[in-house]
Amino acid sequence: MGFILAQALTGLSNAAALFLVASGLSIIFGVTRIVNFAHGSFYMLGAYIAYTTMSMLPGIIGFWASVAITGVAVGLIGVVVELVVLRQVYKAPELFQLVATFGVILVVQDLALLTWGPEDLIGSRAPGLESVVYIMGEAIPEYDLAIIALTPVVLFAIWYLFNRTRWGILVRAATEDREMVGALGVNQSWLFTGVFFLGSLLAGVGGAIQLPKGGADLLMDFSILSAVFVVVVIGGMGSIPGAFIAALIISELNVFGVQLLHQSTLVLMFVVMALVLIVRPWGLLGKPEKPGQHGQVGELARPIAIMPTRGKWLFAAMLVLLALLPVLDDSFLLVLMADIIIFSLFATSLHFLMGPGGMVSFGHAAYFGGGAYAAALSVKYMGAPMEIAIMIAPLIAGCLAIIIGWFCVRLSGVYLAMLTLAFAQVLWSIVFQWGEVTGGDDGILGIWPSEWASDGVVFYYLVLVVGSAGILLIRHVLHSPFGYGVRAGRDSFVRSEAIGINVKLMQWMAFAFAGALAGLAGGLYVFAKGSIFPDEMEIARSFDALIMVLLGGVKTLSGPFVGASTFTLLQDWLSRFEYWRLVLGSMIILLVILFPQGLVGFARDKFGRLINVRGEDHA
């Protein structure tokens, strides 16, 4: 009994930091509709800044003053990010802001490394609360009790702010109806800035109060991010009480999971999230989204056209150039280009889902990695030759997409995206955990091309042929009746249903198709690298694809290729230098600000006729 109580209290105290960070993210999303990937970075900054201030301000007062100072400082950093970066891109297509926040993550990582050095910092204990008290014979740290008491206070303060102050009421009104608040003469941009301040402040305080239980290190940003997303989604995006309840549920689950299901720690919260979303698509206390707006904020995508002759020539010329590449006799260039082609195929498949399909996937790596593992496993256990393995990859990935898609297409918008993330994580943890079959994180090694294709040049041609065939197939399908059916469902749900189209079925099939093609990319990838590890299914890999698509321009057809090339080349070139993340992050932010329609979108607006354009788009 005492043991259960002690574990429950531990869970409650863990919930505190999680709730603070998650509520910040939830507030920012609720009002600005920005999914802030950089929120984990604010949390990390909170931990580092609090570490510094706490070492300067001693004593009980110093400790709690440090927490407050940290909150304000991180809040101000949030304001800077909002003003300098995000404010420039509010009008950009929805989710484009993701790319900007991704840039912020990279910049913050290197700045933190520069400022605080590489070594992990261990937080000092909270003065006055260093000891334990005994409850039913179990030792409970005093500090745990303090933050358990603090959490409801914070919850109440946030509630008060949003329900009893003019500012809060305006913000809530803006959440309900942005236009209306604008029409009432309230300056919306400052409302947004204020919200960013508050959200970042909460993340900073979250980072600060966990210091006495842990410390500050450079991996904190990503390690909290997934948990925070889970909490916000389970609670319902934009709902503070929801975030509170979800933080409690997740923390308690983790605490008791440790005891009852030792190996469950990785997967548990994602399973819970998937279950909640399947039963309650908008989270426990969330509200349904307004349907039909995804991928379509701002100017609508233009009608797609069969490539004009000039475009076809351009494309053919590029293929010829790629085919001539081996003449240069530079085996690394071939390896690099093979990577680019594979990632282009991966990004193009995601684009099919995001652009024409109108369904954003945060977990597209599930199919990429799924295909790669399918190929690798078929080699390992069935002795399949490369040719067969590459064919198995899209089949299995397509099947995975059919299973995952069946659940996902019932949702829309950010919730759909989050459910894809949850499934990808579940899949990742299965691969990670099931070492006997998948090799766990030691991966599957020695998956090299067949003898005839083992030469670098031959393999490059193989990738070129299969990869461009895959990309052309996706392009072709976009022009096929199926592609029109998928786009119809995105453009207008009611119209589609009123002319006999089963939109959910279309979306489901789009999932399967996109998943299969991502799997094909994964199948090629595993033979290019000779091995496969769970990394290829991780969130980071899914984000890569998202960044590529958005960077190229989601409302264009050639965007994914351009985005994949730009991102891969930039990363390859910059990673030679010591502080490459700082530079890459800054460049991404700059690209986002300069080209809010994506690179291809920008080029099309400027130079028009070369790429997919039709006569009178701007009438």
Partner: protein, 255 residues
Amino acid sequence: MTSVLSVQNLAKSFGGVQAVKDVSFDLAKGELLAFIGPNGAGKTTTFNMLNGQLKANSGSVKFNGEEIIGREPRDVWKMGVGRTFQITATFGTMTVLENVQTALMSYHRNLFSLFGKSSKHHVDDALALLDLVGLESQSHRACNVMAYGDLKRLELAIALANDPKLLLMDEPAAGMAPLERIGLMQLTADIVKERNISVLFTEHDMDVVFAHAHRIIVLNRGELIAEGTPEEVRNNERVQEVYLGGGSTFKDEED
């Protein structure tokens, strides 16, 4: 005269509010039936139940003897019911022609085909439909740059793609210039005659209604209060009361 659509005791409530109460009526083949009533009378709610978009609480809607209630809009469409929306619903990222082609591809069950190019599908049929509604010259324009009145016509062309036996038109002329309205309703009347189909439409513009409808049904607060020829309805006391008692005239009802 055979009944194409037979509505019996249709009802719908939202929360505690009874939006449609016990509405019954019939629609004959080749008939142009207007649905009128003040705002909030339950016109759109009834419409949405007729094509399956809203689930009715009770009642029955038979189309050529087959029950519609309980079916999805897409299945109702497959039975031969086309519809247009109060707020136009078209495919914004497609051209005018592609909008109609998509509807035709759906009708011909082509949409799961990965092969062939959409642009080659049913071009002549689509152009013929566009010609019918007077949009042929604009067939290659992007849908999202079209004038509102033209979108209304486009919706009509889309709705005709499955060669329907019944057309449901929710305020087909709203947002159009007066001359355009008359043109569109004349067009609709011609289509009814030519194709021998039935049309049920709602409309605020009483000139349009009284000039074209064969028969009129008046709804108020979810209840059917009058039914008859334009002349009968015009002279109906309850109708007069509803409209005039509210301090407005038919003329002022425009949006």
